[in-house]
């Protein structure tokens, strides 16, 4: 078995492998989606390593590039988004070799969504673990949410009644708090770059969320329903934004996930407006709940009961980081605070992990 860097000549074999590994996620093996994610990212190509044997792909380590704006520096990183090994080769050390090869490239590596049983991989390969974020839920319908979590709620008739009445109450609340300054937009331009440059110093460590990233992530993608809600002041100046995507697990629930957001931590009113607007969109789309991963203390402080449920999903929400050969990267990246809302939003998940500790990625054993 060999570990090699991905090359477009391997695209068909890689896609066939990914279709086999992720049968529940059509995007994983879709050529357009793969090319968009792998070859059209504004920050460059993702680190992609293949385990090959006898001309066949038997394992894949896939990263997505990221630029982390740190105090005084910009660090280029790779989000580890997929690690898969063919079932018939899981009694080999293919997964370990892929892990080792990725680390040996000397790049700064990031991961989120690590399940408990895979923690030893990260420990042994010297990844650092930062508990910097929690998950918050706003529940509109407890029934479908419980189904997603594979939990049974007592008093089923009451739950069914709540499933019908609560959305009405939420809609009434949403109408009362309607954020008039927040609108849907689809053409993020240079003013988004200026806003990010202005806000980045107050966010600690934060992924580059300028216009190029927004266009790539939200609007250039070949599939997926993403929306960008933008807050402007009365003069039309950009103040902040929040991005939302809808997800659905057939027969279980439809829900919305905050993909990312940007606003000044000292503007709690604006943050509230943005999350209210996102919740309102989710309600309109018939979602059972909204999920928001949040890290900055100023923002987390706004997500209180009874509107929000805080779910500590360690290690799922923890950031795992392997500083690369770049001098100074360790000191820059291992500090606090971070502004991190969602680093695993394209993951293949079981659905259950939206609520519980469960593997959000393909099986690795």
């Amino acid at each position: 078995m060999q570990i090699i860097a991905y090359d477009p000549a391997w695209r068909d074999a890689t896609l066939a492998f990914r279709r086999r590994m992720y049968p529940c996620n059509p995007q994983a093996g879709d050529e357009q989606h793969f090319v968009w994610r792998q070859e059209r990212h504004p920050f460059g190509a993702g680190l992609s390593l293949l385990a090959v044997q006898d001309g066949q792909v038997i394992g894949h380590w896939l990263g997505i590039p990221e630029r982390i704006r740190c105090p005084g520096a910009v660090r280029t990183c790779q989000w580890m988004v997929d690690l898969a090994v063919a079932p018939e080769h899981r009694d080999t050390m293919a997964a370990m070799q892929l892990f080792r090869a990725a680390g040996a490239r000397g790049e700064n590596l990031l991961a989120i969504g690590v399940p408990e049983d895979l923690l030893p991989f990260y420990t042994v390969f010297r990844w650092q673990r930062l508990a910097i974020a929690d998950t918050f839920f706003r529940v509109f319908q407890p029934g479908p949410s419980a189904t997603m979590a594979e939990r049974s709620l007592p008093m089923a008739p009451l739950v069914r009644l709540a499933d019908r009445l609560l959305p009405l109450a939420w809609r009434a609340r949403s109408a009362l708090r309607r954020a008039t300054s927040v609108r849907l937009e689809s053409q993020p331009g240079q003013e988004f770059d200026r806003l990010f440059d202005e806000l980045a110093p107050s966010l600690g460590r934060c992924g580059d969320r300028g216009s190029a990233w927004l266009r790539w992530k939200l609007f250039d993608r070949p599939c997926g329903a993403h929306e960008l809600l933008v807050a402007r002041d009365p003069a039309g100046r950009l103040q902040g934004w929040i991005a939302l995507k809808r997800r659905e697990r057939a027969g279980k629930a439809r829900w919305a996930e905050i993909v990312d957001f940007l606003c000044h931590p000292d503007r709690p009113d604006l943050f509230d407006e943005l999350v209210e607007a996102a919740s309102s969109r989710a309600l309109q789309a018939g979602c059972a709940f909204v999920r928001l991963r949040c890290a900055l203390p100023e923002h987390c402080a706004r997500l209180r009961r009874p509107s929000w449920v805080r779910q500590v999903r360690s290690p799922i929400d923890d950031l795992f980081l392997l500083p690369g050969a770049d001098p100074g990267a360790r000191g820059d990246l291992l500090g606090h605070p971070w502004h991190l809302s969602s680093g695993a939003s394209d993951s293949v998940d079981t659905g259950q992990d939206e609520w519980l500790d469960a593997s959000p990625t393909g099986p690795l054993r």
Partner: protein
């Protein structure tokens, strides 16, 4: 250090019955020793014997006997 200390780490990390013939173990010779358990074993070895294995050694540690050799290179010698 008694060899029983090393055997105990294998039994604990891999979740093996106490009467397992640990000295004869090789990677994947028992269902419990898969890649995830391998990493748990490495983490347990490093913690118990206060050492840090190189990644090549992590991959090379494919049997109890080989483990004994690798740990000996780190100054951990086990007496039968």
């Amino acid at each position: 250090m008694p060899l029983s200390a090393l055997r105990a780490v294998f039994v604990e990390a891999l979740g093996l019955p106490p009467d397992t013939d640990v000295d004869a173990l090789t990677y994947r010779s028992v269902p419990q020793w898969d890649s995830v358990a391998h990493m748990a074993l490495i983490a347990r070895l490093e913690s118990r014997f206060d050492l840090m294995l190189e990644t090549d050694e992590v991959l090379d540690l494919s049997s109890f006997a080989r483990c004994r050799e690798i740990l000996a290179a780190h100054g951990c010698r086990f007496d039968d």
